[in-house]
């Protein structure tokens, strides 16, 4: 049994404010991560979502709290949009026990089973079989959930992608496949890795509905995701969204970006999803500079507090090192 949320009218000003706030939240959170990483406070791989915020926020609008999400290692945005508390996500960046994965996962492995957020999966393509299985469980039980599965364009080259497209379509499983096509698999451009660069076309060949979507326009993403999710929920089998987007920063925190030109990055930055929405709202008289500044300040305070809490949180005792290997410790 699932209870559908009453969808807010996407045309209301309030709703647009909310979309803007969520995207800014992700942006500010990640900018803080860059600063903390540079200072050596958080380590490991940290993959930033900056530039792609419209995808996480837009797709999440189509889901109910009862739906499932299976994500990738570039999942800060998905996690925050899903509503995992920022304090828990930040504590996870610090590897603290108060983190959403008790500190064991770090940036790439954010989990929240209570919010049906199943990672945080860092093997490219490895999350697709999981999503397929989660959806299979729902289908067998008759639960009307949608499983949203995020992955990048790089995953499309993996065997697991094709195995899962086939299996999900064959069994008509309720999966919403969300391919975040940001044009680069780490440093390899799409056309250097894929014989057919029209990814929606490839998904379609498995007999499922597939649409390309402007991933820099949060309203377009939301609209497409709502239509797809409704169809999935109604028993229409898996759907595929190719969300065309762009990451503004390096693959993982810092790289010399030898694989793309500065002009290209600058060109995409012109289409910044946050600026785009804010611009439209300003033009329509829905947003003032003061309002925008106020939102920013509020978010900054919230994020600063999460940093303070994460720093202060206790580190897990080394005595507990081998916890969470088995559900019950073997004798």
């Amino acid at each position: 049994m699932t209870v559908r949320q009453v969808a807010p009218d996407p045309l209301t000003v309030q709703h647009r404010h909310e979309l803007l706030r969520q995207m800014l939240f992700i942006r500010r959170f990640e900018e803080k991560c860059v600063e903390l990483y540079s200072a050596g406070e958080i380590r490991g791989f940290v993959h930033l979502y900056i530039g792609e915020e419209a995808v996480a926020v837009g797709v999440n609008e189509s889901l109910t709290p009862d739906d499932n999400i299976v994500s990738t290692y570039r999942e800060h945005g998905h996690a925050l949009a899903r509503g995992i508390p920022v304090n828990a996500v930040m504590a996870e960046m610090y590897g603290k026990i108060t983190g959403c994965s008790k500190g064991r996962g770090g940036s790439m492995h954010l989990f929240d089973a209570g919010r049906r957020f199943y990672g945080g999966n860092a093997i490219v393509g490895g999350g697709l079989p999981l999503a397929t299985g989660v959806a299979l469980a729902d289908k067998m039980r008759g639960d009307q959930r949608v499983t949203a599965c995020f992955f990048g364009d790089g995953a499309v080259a993996e065997g697991e992608f094709h195995e899962c497209m086939n299996l999900a379509a064959l069994w008509k499983l309720p999966v919403l496949f969300c391919c975040e096509n940001n044009l680069y698999a780490m440093g390899t451009a799409l056309e250097r890795a894929q014989a057919q660069t029209d990814l929606a076309l490839r998904a379609e060949s498995y007999g499922m509905t597939a649409w390309p979507v402007d991933g820099m326009d949060v309203l377009a993403v939301e609209q497409a995701a709502r239509r797809a999710a409704e169809s999935v929920r109604a028993g229409g089998g898996p759907h595929f969204l190719e969300l065309r987007t762009y990451r503004f920063r390096a693959h993982s925190m810092y790289d010399p970006e030898l694989y793309r030109g500065k002009a290209e990055v600058a060109e995409w930055r012109e289409r910044d999803p946050i600026e785009a929405l804010a611009g439209r709202m300003r033009a329509a008289g829905e947003l003032s500079d003061e309002e925008l500044a106020a939102i920013g300040e509020k978010l900054a305070a919230q994020i600063d507090e999460s940093v303070m809490l994460a720093r202060a949180a206790p580190a897990e005792s080394v005595d507990d090192l081998t916890r969470f290997v088995y559900s019950t410790e073997p004798a």
Binding site: E31, V34, E35, Y37, S38, A39, G40, E41, R43, G44, F45, M253, Y254, D255, P256, L258
Partner: protein, 478 residues
């Protein structure tokens, strides 16, 4: 210097994109840094005016070093590009001759001056600074009996290499006696080196002995090197050791000597006690019903390894009582009583084949009966295996002798000087006891006290035995 990757310890400043006085905004690129991977741009996390550039182009500094300071608008200067505190930065390393990458690795904050000094070739004259040598090389030197301090190192930074040691061995420098090079791959002396004729002593093969045989031989005091093995490749096996043990003369000198020495030591100590200490003796019969019931109940639920024997409860009670009556817990030294800092309970342990040891259970009054039991078992096992630690043999503040297992009813012991009391424990036996006017059979034990009259009087001793008895009536609180 920002951390630009998980594996980055330091970076080299390639280029400044700003100069003092420049206005910058948060997010602006201000410099380019070379990491071991590639050149990467550094952004500012602050908005303000560049005040001063601290690290110069070409300098290599550890992560966390302040690169420049930024004056925030109408505010004090803030360290740029790094939240970590400033660290002193030495001269640029890259300016020196090119070195292998590995040599530059060093703790991030180590002052450069010291690192530089370490890079100088090590001079190995005399006993000055010993040159660095790997464990492998040290091991080789030991085998070849080469004094490592006399070897001139030719490795990176003057470290001593295997070749250096081999050369030294051949040249005879520092060689104490003729050696044979062990047949180790890679250790063979190179043919190019003139090898002076030297006697070749064949390495006698070590007698193969199975681990079990070696263990049992050690326990039985048998020298395995004299045995002929019946196992594969002539290995001495358990059976060979057992056979040798049977064949051995029943009385063996070393064991006998050890026993004799122990007897003499006990004799001297006990004679001193009786000579110097005015003993007084008290005894008390303690009802053990509550203690035995509690023990039985508890043991029923436990695995063998965790079960308690009555002695554990009795020891705990004697230790707690000693804390309650401190006049009995300590030493008589220099004509005065010095109370113990805690109750370290000496336990008299008889050894198989004769003899006696009284190791101590430290802080016995603080231990739960289970812990005390575990320590008791451990002590007995180690005492009988001859593996006691020195401190355990010297630090008892009061001693207990329990001869109950041997059927003795009451013990009147001799105090271990300089201690001032010895508690005796007899066998727990069923005795008819009148309780509330009715006679019934109850388990009882006789506890005794031998005490030093110089340190305490009979009244204290009586309080002590009463305390032991009281404690045993509430075993659950022990």
């Amino acid at each position: 210097m920002p951390a630009l990757g998980a594996d980055m310890d330091e970076g080299t400043l390639l280029e400044w994109l700003v100069k003092p006085g420049d206005e910058i905004r948060k997010g602006d690129i201000i410099a380019v840094v070379d990491t071991s991977k590639s050149a990467i741009e550094v952004e500012s996390f602050h908005t303000g005016t560049i005040e001063r550039l601290i690290v110069g182009v070409g300098e290599t500094v550890p992560v966390g070093t302040v690169l420049a300071t930024i004056a925030e608008q109408a505010a004090a200067a803030a360290p740029a590009a790094a939240a970590a505190p400033a660290a002193p930065v030495g001269p640029p390393e890259a300016a020196g001759p090119p070195e292998p990458q590995r040599a530059r690795k060093r703790p991030a904050r180590e002052p450069a001056a010291r690192a530089k000094q370490r890079r100088q070739p090590v001079i190995t004259s005399g006993k000055a600074q010993p040159a660095a040598a790997s464990p492998l090389v040290r091991h080789l030197a030991e085998e070849l009996r080469v004094d490592i301090a006399t070897v001139q190192g030719t490795g990176p930074g003057g470290t001593i290499t295997r070749a250096d040691v081999q050369r030294a061995a051949i040249a005879g420098a520092g060689v104490a006696e003729p050696v044979t090079l062990p047949p180790q791959p890679g250790v063979a002396v190179t043919a190019a080196q003139p090898t002076p004729a030297r006697p070749t002593v064949p390495v006698t093969a070590r007698q193969p002995v199975t681990p079990l045989a070696r263990r049992i031989a050690a326990e039985l005091g048998i020298d395995v090197s004299k045995l002929t093995g019946s196992g594969s490749r002539g290995a001495v096996r358990e059976a060979d050791v057992r056979m040798a043990a049977t064949a051995r003369a029943p009385t063996q000198a070393p064991a006998q000597e050890r026993e004799q020495a122990m007897r003499q030591a006990i004799g001297r100590l006990m004679a001193r006690s009786k000579r110097e200490i005015p003993h007084y003796y008290l005894s008390n019969t303690v009802d053990m019903t509550a203690a035995m019931d509690w023990l039985h109940q508890r043991n029923r639920e436990l695995e063998v390894t965790e079960r308690l024997v009555p002695a554990a409860l009795l020891l705990k009670a004697t230790a707690l009582a000693a804390r309650q009556v401190p006049q009995l817990n300590g030493y008589w030294e220099d004509d005065r009583f010095a109370p113990g800092d805690a109750v370290h309970l000496g336990v008299a342990i008889s050894l198989r084949g004769g003899g006696l040891l009284t190791p101590a259970i430290h802080d016995a009054a603080e231990l739960a009966p289970g812990e005390l039991m575990a320590q008791l078992r451990d002590l007995v096992n180690r005492a009988r295996g001859g593996r006691l630690r020195r401190a355990e043999l010297t630090e008892a503040t009061i001693t207990v002798t329990n001869l109950g297992d041997q059927g003795v009813e009451s013990v009147f012991g001799v105090i271990y000087p300089p201690q001032v009391a010895l508690v005796g424990i007899g066998k727990i036996i069923e005795r008819p006891v009148a309780v509330g006017g009715l006679v019934g059979a109850r388990p009882v034990v006789i506890t005794t006290l031998s005490a030093d009259h110089r340190a305490s009087d009979g009244y204290a001793g009586a309080r002590y035995l009463a305390a032991v008895s009281d404690l045993l009536q509430r075993p659950e609180e022990l």
